[in-house]
């Protein structure tokens, strides 16, 4: 049950719109009765909702120029977007991945299947997408990722910075092309950052082949090693940190694909410095699929327990999972 001091502006706004649950309504009522300053805050948000609605109505009333212009562009040879865009099936998977409930929710959006992916981020944002082969990419700010060719080709092009958690496919390498050099992998985790003149590759786990754009030089970079391309020359790899260390901007990112719960629990232990105890060996063998970005350990574990139909108990610095 929420307490009165947990009331935030978003909850007030949902209450005003009639979207609050009965429990939240009770909380709001108690909170309003407690202090006249609360009532004043509520009224201010009410006025903001009204003012926003008025602005929205003005926006809705802007007249369309008509379909003729769009249809003319559609019929003009060579006109239209030069690039094809994110298949909405992939987009939906990407967005589900963000909320960490891939195995629990179904997509509901209208979608275009079989279209190559293109995702761009603004100056102050990051994005996470899951590609058709199960590779998860966390795209840094002011960056762009394109999937080139068919999804089966597992070939991408990057501008800016991204972290790749590549789905293992021994038969088909995953390739990231850039203006300065290419990375080719079979299944691993790595960060690639492409600037105007230099490319930086940090491998978290596995091995990545790195070659300059002209293909003349190449090196193999292992987990915990850093390499790059500067002025067309490939730098020899050097060990910088232990494997499994993630660059700070990525935050906490966990990707599970049919992963045994016992293995997922070890990942959680490494990522959050907590202990996860699974009391039942049958539960430990059950598998989970999902992607979690910047979620708390409890949130992740609750979702995993829900997927494998187990119960979780939370103690200080330990989570106990049982049938």
């Amino acid at each position: 049950m929420s307490s009165a001091n947990e009331v935030n502006d978003a909850l007030i706004e949902r209450t005003i719109r009639g979207d609050a649950t009965s429990e939240e309504l009770e909380t709001i009522e108690a909170w309003l009765a407690a202090d006249s300053a609360h009532r004043r805050r509520y009224r201010r948000i009410e006025r903001l909702v009204e003012a926003g609605r008025e602005l929205g109505e003005r926006i809705e009333s802007v007249a369309s120029p008509g379909a003729a212009a769009v249809l003319a562009a559609a019929h003009r040879p060579g006109r239209g977007p030069g690039r094809r865009w994110l298949p909405w099936g992939i987009a939906a998977a990407a967005l589900l991945a963000l909320v960490g409930s891939l195995a629990l929710r179904g997509g509901e959006d209208p979608r275009i299947p079989d279209e190559p992916l293109s995702v761009a981020t603004g100056e102050d944002e990051t994005a996470t997408v899951e590609l058709e082969d199960g590779t998860v990419v966390r795209l840094g700010s002011d960056s762009r990722l394109d999937v080139v060719g068919s999804a089966d080709a597992r070939e991408t092009r990057l501008e800016g910075r991204a972290y790749f958690n590549v789905a293992a496919r021994p038969d088909v390498p995953f390739r990231v092309r850039s203006s300065l050099g290419d990375a080719r992998v079979l299944g691993t985790r790595f960060e690639l950052s492409v600037g105007d003149r230099q490319l930086r590759l940090f491998v978290v786990e596995g091995r990545v082949g790195l070659s300059a754009a002209d293909g003349r030089e190449s090196v193999e970079v292992a987990g915990g090693e850093l390499s790059g391309v500067v002025d067309g020359a490939v730098l020899p790899p050097r060990r910088v940190v232990g494997p499994d260390s993630l660059p700070d901007w990525i935050g906490t990112m966990l990707v599970f694909r049919s992963t045994a719960l016992s293995e997922a629990a070890r990942e959680l232990e490494r990522a959050y410095g907590i202990r996860v105890t699974i009391t039942d060996s049958d539960v430990a063998r059950r598998t989970v699929t999902g992607t979690f970005v910047n979620r708390g350990a409890e949130d992740v574990m609750r979702a995993l327990c829900s997927i494998v139909d187990a119960s979780c108990r939370f103690r200080p610095e330990e989570i106990v999972v049982s049938e």
């Binding site: 502006d9 706004e13 926003g52 929205g56 926006i59 212009a69 559609a74 963000l98 293109s118 994005a127």
Partner: protein
């Protein structure tokens, strides 16, 4: 039964019907969808791309894409959310290109301070709506976008999360912060006389 064309008393066709008509190459369905969604798509694109002219171009390309892939849409979920998401990707692309060009220009030009509205302009903006519009522009990028999608475009947390590629909890957090800022900045206009 379908209402006769041109019947002013006929109810407006819903999204599902329009998408099916669109898939059947019905140009009137595109006309109706544009009439319904053009304003919000242009407004949102302008807020992301930062220019009115660019926003109209982004909106046109968004509807062009809707038309080009008309045989592939499935009529479930929020079309408004989908259009805004397409517009967002296009607007961000435009913005990135513009920033690259601007950086190149900046290297050859003196730096300029950000423009602050003068007293005369502030005096004109006494209406809450106008003050709110200005205050929205001053919000940090993500808070601004969340607020606009919720308050001006009336999207659910889930739809906003889908458009922006963030979790619903992030939407709630950004919205709370945006509201806190706005009610403080506009407090004098929000309180009753």
């Amino acid at each position: 039964m379908t209402a006769p064309e041109g019947d002013p008393t006929a109810p407006e066709p819903d999204q599902e019907v329009l998408l099916r008509r669109l898939a059947a190459d019905d140009e009137d369905a595109l006309e109706l969808l544009m009439a319904r969604h053009w304003g919000p798509v242009v407004d949102y694109a302008e807020r992301v791309a930062g220019s009115g002219a660019a926003a109209e171009d982004v909106a046109q390309r968004t509807f062009l894409r809707l038309w080009q892939h008309r045989d592939r849409w499935t009529p479930d979920g929020s079309l408004r959310g989908l259009l805004l998401r397409m517009a967002r990707n296009l607007a961000i692309s435009h913005q990135r290109k513009e920033r690259s060009r601007a950086r190149a220009r900046e290297r050859a030009a003196p730096t300029r301070d950000a423009r602050v509205p003068g007293p005369a302009e502030r005096l004109e903006a006494t209406e809450l709506g106008e003050e709110l519009e200005r205050a929205i522009q001053r919000l940090p990028e993500r808070r601004r976008e969340t607020f606009v999608l919720r308050f001006l475009h009336d999207l659910s947390y889930r739809e906003i999360g889908d458009v922006m590629g963030v979790a619903e909890q992030t939407v709630a957090n950004q919205l709370s912060r945006a509201l806190k800022t706005l009610r403080r900045e506009l407090g004098h206009l929000l309180d009753p006389w």
